[in-house]
């Protein structure tokens, strides 16, 4: 129970952070509309994901491109699929839009976010 409440506290802090960064423009993602919003943890414990998500994705990209292995929990397409949020009109908001899941933290940390110069920022179905 103690551990769970710890995570809830982190979540609240994280939400506060995102909310603070998010601008009040139209098409802003609504909290709770992403599949990930309803889950306790990602494919690895939250602390691991925060610290090492890029290593998981970077390893996976080589395995996928060169070996063709796509059945995985660590694909970028999976990240986008689960973390993309919808705006008030029900339209998906790109994960790299200001304040959204990916951009929110990257902006705060001052780390460039290069995935989306090439990769789709919303699930496209194919």
């Amino acid at each position: 129970m103690k551990r769970k409440s710890g995570f809830s506290l982190l979540l609240v802090l994280c939400l506060g952070l995102l909310g603070g960064l998010g601008t009040a423009q139209a098409g802003e993602g609504v909290e709770g509309t992403a599949r990930a919003d309803k889950l306790d943890a990602c494919v690895a414990p939250t602390a691991t994901m925060r610290r090492s998500h890029f290593e998981l994705i970077k390893h996976q990209r080589d395995v996928t491109v060169h070996l063709g292995i796509r059945k995985t929990d660590n694909s970028l397409a999976g990240c986008v699929d689960c973390h993309v949020r919808k705006d008030a009109q029900g339209k998906q908001v790109p994960v790299n839009a200001p304040g959204e899941f990916c951009a929110g933290c990257h902006e705060y940390a001052g780390a460039s976010l290069d995935c989306f110069t090439c990769h789709a920022t919303k699930p496209t179905g194919n």
Partner: protein, 253 residues
Amino acid sequence: MSQPTNQQRRAFLAEVTGVAAATVVAPGVLLQSVANAAPRDTAVTDDVRYGMLIDTTKCADGCSDCVSACDKENGLDLMEKPEGASDELWEMQRPRWIRQVKLRNNLTGRVTSLPMMCQHCEKPPCVDVCPTGASFRRADGIVMVDRHTCIGCRYCMMACPYNARSFIHENVQLKTTATPRGKGCVESCNLCVQRRDNGGTTTACQDACKHGAIVFGDLKDPNSAVSQAMAKYPTVQIRADLQLNTGVRYTDV
């Protein structure tokens, strides 16, 4: 064990079984597993070699169904003309994985139409010249570009005897999940690799060809449609003199 503990355990089990394919690392924390249809979970091997046979007698002049289907499958139709570029420049530089080529025999005047794309050579010149290893041949015979390591030098475009590769000159706004695309990288036909890795048996161009001019399959399997057709009809490799052993073959050229 006391009664309350048992009840907690039951509630906990119910929670776990309620979420499909989840792993438990700590009480109350479930790690999620991503459910996919039937994607590949083992590395590709050289037990197969993917290739194509194009029957140019069936390929109709003026038809561009395979090109449109390829554009749609690989997000090429989402590309927009860069601001300030002329129509002429855009037509010349816009990425195309399939080119429509017309051959004319000057002696007889016979005209042949055919789709020309990456020929998926066994010994690809584009792979030979790539300084970073971005241009590579997958174990199953698909020649492709790893855009993560491509530096956009375009040596491969110059080395390719088939003019099969395109370069992305400007930032790309819209892209599909299966085919990422960005400024500064080279790309070409990858035999619909996303279909290969997800259990598909056809390519977009083959599906679109209403004349049945394109047969795709495993060249190493003697029972595949493509092998059967090759055993039956005379086929050629384009620029066979280069001894590249292409994976795409043609009839009646």
